[in-house]
Symmetry: C2
Subunit: 113 residues, 2 copies
DNA sequence: TCATCACATCGATATTCATCGATTCGACAC
DNA sequence: GTGTCGAATCGATGAATATCGATGTGATGA
């Protein structure tokens, strides 16, 4: 029995903003992902992960790095994973996080850079 | 006497997320812009403007197009202008809006697409 | 089995924010 | 001026959310 962990993605959500008007469903889907990024703490988390050695980081280091409590950091990490921006991996007692690069790439495509 | 209308920009705000960790000020500045985009109504406004003939749109057409009241649409337009994503131009009684392309391009650069 | 550590969840609180009706403001035409 | 029309502002309300202390959960090691 295989267990497939699906990571939510906006890859097929919509064309670049300049190509076609978004319908309500597409706008909602995109907004969910952008809202997950649109927070100073979560942006710092993403940039910390993206620039860490091996491009991964242990949750245990974040409360000190961000000057936030452990429950608050956990809350933000959950938001980022549910938006498909981070990927979580359990290693023993520790939780490690990586960037879900396809999701960020898709965002860039849609914003049309 | 000249009147210089400054459009807020994140152009010099920060390097791509994958290049260096954001400090608190950079993260806050970026979050303000992303937060302005991270709403379904505002995303639809941006895509409507970006795909309109001549890439501009009259505010008068938006309440019907978005099924929101005039004050609500005005509120969202204000948010987008203050974030430097849209540019407002008054023509007689009407207000017209265009995309501030450099701001969107800068966003794409920072997200690293 | 038991203590410990890392992290998630719960409960509460304060703040932010989307929304709309009513009102005000500004530009235009007469 | 006066009336009209487009749009911003005000005030209120309900919903979403960032935060943290306390508690629960799951894995580790003795």
């Amino acid at each position: 029995m295989f267990t497939v962990i699906e990571s939510p993605t906006i890859a097929g959500c919509c064309a670049p903003l300049t190509d076609a008007p978004l319908d309500e469903a597409q706008a909602l889907e995109l907004a969910v992902v952008l809202k997950a990024l649109a927070d100073p703490i979560r942006l710092r988390i993403v940039s910390l992960v993206a620039t860490a050695p091996d491009r991964e980081i242990c949750a245990c280091d974040l409360p000190a790095a961000l000057d936030r409590s452990q429950p608050t950091v956990s809350h933000h990490l959950t938001q980022l994973v549910r938006a498909g921006i981070l990927v979580r991996e359990q290693r023993g007692k520790w939780a490690w996080f990586r960037i879900a690069q396809p999701q960020l790439d898709a965002l860039g495509q849609i914003l049309g850079s």
